[in-house]
């Protein structure tokens, strides 16, 4: 190829990559709902669990504390912060303990007789009214006089206060300066429910930013500081830490990789050529995922690039085999069968994830398969014309020659394979410890001091339990409310018994139609009410006539239609009821959140007595979901392993050669599994992905060792290629293994161990026998 056409081809390739990059950058939508990496739900129950984990009120709840200065300053800031956050669209509701009568709109004011439980047990008759008016007389000489007098003529029985009191959270911390404080009286406490789901890190990040801005505005003393806790705050924190550490390690790995390539090939041009297939692979992968799925998950992006790092090996094989006089196209043609077998079998391994039933893994699968295929094809067809014919020949290295000869002298201990396999299987079988990690939290554990602070805040605030809740399922909203009202006395009995501190459900805010109608029916007619009022007035010195607004309100209430969930739209109660009463495609779910639960077993009887009430244990339920998901992935992997053997068998067409090529990879998988288990590591999904990656690498090493020809120069070139490939991979993953974050460390450690084991086993078991120079 002439230099001119070479330049043209390179320019065209670069232009295509740039154009593809531009399109991908423009079209790419990066999603971040972590549930994409959780199993797809099969039953309505599982669907509920997943939605609850990510979207339930507990997952959206942020616990806030303000401290660091005088309590009065903290209280003032707390009030200002609530005012700021109520303006902010990121939050559904915010509470700091201020009971705010103004928050009740005029529209609901008339409904107080239907919402308050007073009419359940008493009527507005003369006895009741006389007692009430006498109470109000006392109020008028008490410190509460101001508040009572403002309501008196319209609401002499203070029904509004009754309603506000029932709407207060079931458990409340102490109030100082009108806002919630911890027991010590030093931290002002607040709760905020975010609009974004708990498993939406981007939404949670927006909420965290909004919170920070609002606090800066509301802060009345520079010494005050805001502490934010809760699932959303943790997901933001862990995302930042993971990203930060991944970037830092990734940067180091890139520098190391460049240095290694420069040392290995002594040419900047080769370095740039070597990066082209990888970049093309990444862009192709992104484009493929964008096309098939619409949006690319952030995790797919991060893992995908780690996994297609294997593609960096493909050009290296080509470069290492290049030497003076050889047409690079012939070089590529000679390597192709081996390379193609490697690419195809790795692709098959990743294809297993496409059928895993997990959206995020399917994305990962499409990404890697598309990426690796493009990397293989560009290495075969685009790279050779661009390569320089005359390069340094790896075969000239005396060192490599010496190493190869030393290797050749090594025994070929076939018994070793059997022994290693037996030991590994033995370790896995003998141990009684569970092999797998089922808890989701194990993947991104939150530092212990933060967990402790969270549970302290949770206790102080009386926030609902994050693990247990009762679930009511019904065909319509009314049936849910009826059931909630029915189990209310049982729950109250449990509170009295000390099994739990408090509970919350939609019927606390919105009584059932039946309850409301019953209360309405108990309201007297204007004539009867006026008579009773007259009697009550005779017993008290209230001026006749001042209660006309009260009589009018009662008459209005007698004609009100009962309040349904849809009537709460636009009121402060809308958010509370909406998070406890959920409409899912015509199927209604009611949640009963529990506070200070000490005896989960005590709730079992409710579960048994009411068929439509279930005690949900989120921890146990997610663990069984994860276990189920894993079983399915393992079946997929087993199927792809069979396929892989078939591909290798088809490529090599010789049982002995197939055995030699597959042995290191299979043994390595066993050895790493046994090693991790013996080291006390519980395996997660990420270990599985890492094992597949390590297996793909091992297969490549074995294929090339097996392929090494009789000629000493060729052998040295193969050795050079495999050394460069394995060293670079080992460097990248050893760096990841240094990470403080379990996900990155797990992957780094697993792949590093896999690379070492694969390399050594390929040397000992795959190397053709008796062929030395």
């Amino acid at each position: 190829m002439t230099p001119g056409r070479k330049g043209l081809l390179l320019a065209a390739w670069l232009a295509t990559v740039a154009a593809l990059g531009w399109v991908v950058d423009r079209e790419l939508v990066v999603g971040s709902d972590l549930r994409l990496f959780m199993p797809a739900p099969r039953t309505p129950q599982e669907k509920l669990i997943l939605e609850e984990i990510g979207e339930g009120p507990a997952s959206r709840m942020l616990l806030l504390s303000i401290s660091g200065a005088q309590p009065s300053a903290a209280a003032e800031t707390s009030r200002a912060l609530v005012a700021e956050l109520r303006q902010d669209g990121e939050f559904r509701w915010v509470a700091n303990g201020e009971s705010n009568l103004d928050a009740i709109p005029e529209k609901l004011f008339a409904y107080r007789y239907l919402l308050s439980s007073t009419l359940d047990h008493s009527r507005l008759d003369s006895t009741f009214l006389t007692a009430q008016l006498k109470e109000r007389l006392h109020d008028m000489t008490s410190p509460a006089a101001g508040l009572v007098e403002s309501l008196l003529t319209r609401d002499p029985t203070l029904e509004l206060l009754n309603v506000v009191e029932t709407w207060q959270p079931p458990m409340q911390p102490q109030t100082l300066h009108d806002v919630w404080f911890d027991k010590a009286g030093s931290q002002a406490l607040l709760v905020a429910e975010t609009g974004a789901a708990g498993f939406d890190p981007q939404g949670q990040r927006r909420a965290a930013d909004a919170l920070k801005r609002a606090f800066e505005k509301a802060r009345t003393d520079p010494a005050l500081e805001l502490i934010v806790s809760g699932p959303g705050a943790f997901s933001v924190l862990m995302k930042d830490r993971t990203q930060g550490e991944a970037q830092w390690l990734g940067g180091l790995a890139t520098i190391g990789m460049i240095a290694l390539l420069l040392v290995a090939y002594r040419s900047v041009y080769v370095l740039i050529l070597g990066l082209l297939p990888l970049v093309s692979a990444g862009l192709a992968g992104l484009a493929a995922v964008s096309t098939f799925f619409g949006a690319v998950h952030g995790i797919t992006l991060a893992f995908g690039f780690t996994l297609i790092g294997v593609a960096q090996d493909y050009p290296m094989h080509l470069f290492s085999h290049q030497h003076g006089g050889l047409d690079p196209r012939d070089n590529a043609r000679a390597l192709w069968p081996t390379l193609a077998t490697g690419v195809a079998s790795t692709c098959i391994a990743y294809l297993a994830f496409l059928f895993s039933g997990v959206g995020g893994l399917a994305q990962l699968s499409v990404f890697t398969v598309a990426g690796l295929a493009v990397a293989g094809l560009t290495t075969r067809f685009l790279l050779p014309p661009l390569m320089q014919v005359k390069t340094r020949d790896a075969a000239d290295s005396a060192l490599l020659g010496w190493i190869w000869e030393s290797i050749a002298l090594l025994p070929r201990p076939l018994w070793l394979g059997v022994a290693v396999a037996a030991c590994s299987i033995g370790i896995l079988l003998i141990s009684s410890r569970p092999l797998w990690q089922d808890a989701l939290g194990g993947l991104t554990p939150v530092p212990a001091p933060l967990i402790e602070r969270d549970s302290t805040l949770r206790r102080e605030l009386g926030a609902p339990d994050v693990r247990y809740m009762l679930v009511i399922q019904a065909n319509d909203a009314q049936s849910v409310l009826v059931r909630a009202a029915a189990i209310d006395p049982e729950l109250a009995a449990l509170v009295a018994r000390g099994a739990l501190d408090g509970y919350d459900h939609a019927a606390r805010y919105l009584p059932t139609l039946e309850q409301q109608e019953h209360r309405r029916a108990n309201l007297p007619s204007t004539r009867v009410l006026e008579e009773s009022l007259a009697t009550a007035l005779r017993a008290t010195p209230f001026r006749p006539g001042i209660f006309l607004p009260f009589v009018a309100d009662v008459e209005r209430a007698r004609n009100l239609p009962a309040l349904g969930p849809e009537d709460l739209a636009g009121t402060p109660m809308e958010a509370r009821v909406n998070s406890l009463l959920l409409d899912r495609d015509g199927h209604w779910t009611g949640l009963v959140t529990l506070t200070g639960l000490r005896d989960p077993a005590a709730l079992g009887s409710l579960d048994a007595d009411f068929p439509d009430v279930t005690l949900l244990d989120l921890k146990q339920a997610t663990e069984s979901l994860v276990a189920h998901q894993r079983t399915r992935i393992l079946y997929c992997l087993a199927a792809s392993a069979v396929l892989l053997v078939l591909v290798v068998a088809f490529a090599l067409r010789d049982a002995t050669r197939v055995r030699r090529v597959l042995a290191p990879m299979a043994l390595t998988t066993l050895v790493v599994l046994a090693g991790l288990h013996a080291a006390g590591v519980s395996l997660t999904l990420f270990h599985l992905i890492a094992l597949v990656l390590a297996a793909g690498l091992g297969l490549d090493y074995a294929l090339f060792f097996e392929h090494a020809a009789d000629e000493p120069a060729e052998q040295r070139r193969t050795l050079h290629a495999v050394l460069v490939c394995s060293t670079s991979t080992l460097m990248v993953f050893a760096l990841l293994a240094l990470s403080s974050l379990p996900v990155l460390r797990d992957i780094g450690l697993t792949v590093s161990a896999g690379v070492i084991s694969n390399f050594l086993l390929a040397l000992l078991l795959t190397r053709p026998q008796g062929r030395t120079s």
Binding site: H138, T141, S142, H177, F542
Partner: protein, 202 residues
């Protein structure tokens, strides 16, 4: 000279010095409340206590039992038969008025009074009147004026007038309704307060 002459006019500073009492200190009271919503005033009697920790306790004994503790910025209200309520002084400006005037009077704390009220004093040891007018808007919305009548170092009546004309009058040092004049209309009672100081002073 001022110590010997009863006729000498008093200034706020020297009056407050005379009023200062070391805690604990307690006195009985009868409170009469006037409201436009009522056909006749209502009466409550009980005890006021200034505790050593600085808290003020208002204990109503008749016609119902109720205790209010004002400590720092917090009010604790306990009434027989209902659960205790706690709220902050910001919520009840009339209480802040009471606390600032009554508590500060007991402590002789002029600075605390003047933070919330502007004060004028008239009269002499034989009978004086102190008028407290709220300074800030929030307080003004609930209190138009507080009037304290007394003789020498003894306050006798507190009258709190609200912007809408409603008022409450608290007579100190008497046990129950029977010590008050037969007619409880506002003018007569206020006159009774002024007279009372004169009578005692004689």
């Amino acid at each position: 000279m001022s110590g010997t002459s009863l006729a000498t006019d008093l200034d706020t500073g020297s009056l407050l010095q005379k009023l200062a009492r070391p805690a604990p200190e307690s006195t009985s009271f009868v409170e009469v409340r006037y409201s436009s919503m009522l056909t006749e005033p209502i009466v409550a009697s009980g005890e006021l206590e200034h505790r050593t920790d600085g808290a003020l306790v208002r204990r109503v004994i008749s016609p119902y039992a109720e205790t209010t503790v004002l400590a720092g910025e917090t009010v604790l209200l306990e009434r027989e038969g209902s659960k205790p309520r706690q709220f902050s002084l910001d919520r009840a400006p009339e209480l802040r008025g009471m606390l600032a005037s009554f508590g500060a009077l007991l402590e002789g704390n002029r600075e605390m009074i003047e933070r919330h009220f502007s004060v004028t004093t008239t009269g002499n040891d034989a009978g004086w009147e102190m008028q407290l007018t709220p300074r800030d808007r929030k307080l003004k919305a609930r209190i138009a004026l507080i009037r304290v009548n007394g003789v020498e170092g003894n306050p006798r009546c507190f009258t709190m007038v609200e912007p809408d004309g409603d008022a409450s009058l608290m007579a100190l040092g008497i046990q129950n309704r029977s010590a008050l004049p037969a007619s409880l209309d506002r003018q007569s009672l206020q006159a009774w307060c002024t007279d009372r100081t004169k009578v005692v002073a004689k």
